[in-house]
């Protein structure tokens, strides 16, 4: 299935947006985290600054999110993982409310109750989880609901290659295949489960091979390339929509930042992240667009200005929104 000009341009703009979002966050997140005079043993105060808590950035992994989400509708479900921004942006989660959530503001998606690992936007059916592998069974539930309700909606579970060693992953694959659920499991292989290399955690080279054990197609996308992901995901989503059941896709992708911001990355060969950026998928897609006369300097500049304005507006909204009232911590334990 070949991407249309419109789809290619959409993926490109979304990738630029995700990248700008993450690079901006990398800066904003650091604000006030480094004490003026670095105290002994305290190089980084994770709870300080305007965006507190852990922060997992997805720069480099944009192709996975856009290549899959290009096939999705508003009523399709996406369950993301603890590194969720690229999925959320690709699924059109409200960018202002998402950013406000990371600032812990009352205007955030979860009114400041969730933070960056726990983004919920029911309007576009997006959720994610801070627990590795936990989203896969939940995506099965959404797919089961679509089947029961007689819609042709599909569900996507995104997670890292580390999650593919969790029991939840295997149970979800069995359940999805058994019940022929319209779900697509998408593994992002960024080579590291926190600090542990995939070769030290997983006995096989590709998780796509595991699909055969559950009776579903397994597809390996070997290149961190939006078009390649788009093509694999297109087949899988269409198959799911037709009611033919699940697919497992693994994509080899690259994580430019550490596991979390502040990660000393002692496990990474020196200069690896820099080297990865030499094969950046965004200019690659830009070049493809230019080769097809779908993009020129002027259009690219206009697109980037548009994206910058959107991202900047979201950060301004997050920063300038009010905090919740402290006692609002007591609300929303139960639905009224």
């Amino acid at each position: 299935m070949e991407a249309t000009a419109e789809q290619l341009l959409w993926m490109y703009e979304k990738m630029v947006e995700i990248r700008e979002y993450e690079e901006t966050m990398a800066k904003v997140y650091l604000e006030a985290k480094l004490p003026p005079k670095v105290q002994k043993g305290l190089a980084f105060d994770i709870g300080a600054g305007p965006v507190p808590g852990e922060m997992h950035l997805a720069a480099g992994q944009e192709p996975v999110a856009v290549g899959v989400c290009a096939h999705l509708r508003r009523d399709d479900t996406v369950v993301g993982a603890h590194r969720p921004h690229h999925f959320a942006i690709a699924k059109d989660v409200d960018l202002n409310a998402m950013t406000a959530e990371m600032y812990g503001k009352a205007t955030g998606l979860g009114r400041g109750k969730g933070g960056h690992m726990h983004l919920f936007d029911p309007a576009v059916k997006f959720s994610c989880s801070g627990i590795v592998g936990a989203g896969a069974p939940q995506a099965c539930g959404a797919a089961l609901a679509a089947k029961k309700l007689g819609t042709d909606a599909v569900a996507i579970a995104f997670f890292g290659e580390g999650a593919a060693n969790q029991g939840a992953f295997h149970e979800a694959l069995n359940l999805a295949a058994l019940w022929k659920l319209p779900v697509v499991f998408v593994v992002e292989d960024n080579k590291y489960g926190i600090s542990v290399e995939k070769s030290a955690s997983t006995a096989i080279a590709s998780n796509a091979d595991r699909a055969v054990a559950y009776g579903m197609p397994g597809v390996l996308v070997e290149k961190n390339d939006a078009v390649a992901v788009f093509e694999a995901a297109g087949v899988a989503v269409a198959r799911a929509r037709r009611g033919e059941g699940p697919t497992l896709i693994e994509v080899k992708t690259d994580r430019y930042f550490g596991h979390f911001q502040g990660d000393p990355e002692t496990y990474r060969p020196k200069g690896e992240a820099k080297e990865l950026r030499q094969h950046d998928p965004i200019p690659a897609l830009g070049a493809l667009l230019r080769s097809r006369d779908l993009l020129d300097d002027e259009a690219d500049a206009a697109l980037r200005a548009r994206v910058s304005a959107r991202v900047q507006a979201a950060y301004d909204f997050g920063r300038n929104s009010p905090y919740p009232e402290p006692q609002d911590a007591l609300l929303h334990v139960f639905a009224e």
């Binding site: 979860g110 959720s127 989880s129 936990a134 939940q138 539930g141 029991g167 149970e171 359940l175």
Partner: protein, 345 residues
Amino acid sequence: MSTTTTTRRLTMAQAISEATAQEMERDPRVFVMGEDVGKYGGIFSATTGLLDKFGPERVMDTPISETGFMGAALGAAAEGLRPISELMFVDFFGVCFDQIYNHIAKNHYMSGGACKYPLVITTGIGGGYNDAAQHSQCLYSIFAHVPGLKVVVPSNAYDAKGLMTSAIRDDNPVVFLYHKGIMGLSWMSYFEGSTNEVPEEQYTIPFGQARVVREGSDVTIVTLSQMVQKSVLAADKLAEEGISAEVLDLRTLVPLDRAAVLKSVKRTGRLLVADEDYLSYGLSGEIAALVAENIDTVRLKAPVRRLAVPDVPIPFSRPLENFAIPQVENIVASVRGLMTFKLDQ
């Protein structure tokens, strides 16, 4: 004006199954899934008859895969369905607790109220039939400890039907724990009292309303589940000795009817908590703390007493299990002890 209400005697298992069936008829979004809930009708008969009425699309046997189907229940609830997901024995919660306490219990809160997860987890609890440490626990306090879960523990068929109907209609996750020993199963010995008159019509029992099972003036026995039946038998014996025991069935742990506990203890001045869960850090401590925190308004005539499993796994052998799980005689002895106390005023 009078309305005709037809009642019959039902077992707790039949009552739960009937409540489920009536809700499934009323609301097409309700469905059941779990291990052996279909043809088998549930290992403890909580889903007996449902497959024949509603078919395999709405009464779904699952693989032995608790993480998978508890997560699927959450995902389906997020889409507006109302799953009832059976965890066969509560003892198995460990294999799927991440889905329950990190997701089912917390996602509504973390979404700032934006998402709702209306689902019911049903599960069998309790010992007394020599099934040993991995199949005999109550554990309801663990669920009650985690914010975001409502916890229901019925003691009889009438309550079970009304509470189950409320549970299915609730927009929140509800954990519904039924004691195997009071389900009325033909293959398990049983305490009288849980099989009782149940109306055919649908009705609801609101959560957070304890029930005075038996009125009394000398001592309050706060309890729930099968311990209600044991406490009533103990109260009968105590009455022969001239001791008037009030038996209070909590019915739900979350929400907890704190007012009913305080009201009764204020009147009787003595409290025994009779619990089949572990002693430490659990329900009995919670009720004792409640009274302690209100000691300025509750005038106690004796110290609070707690009767629970003495922090050992439930043993297999009959004399060992009988010792570990509080019995009628233990309740009687504890109350007698309370009555002999003289607090300096």
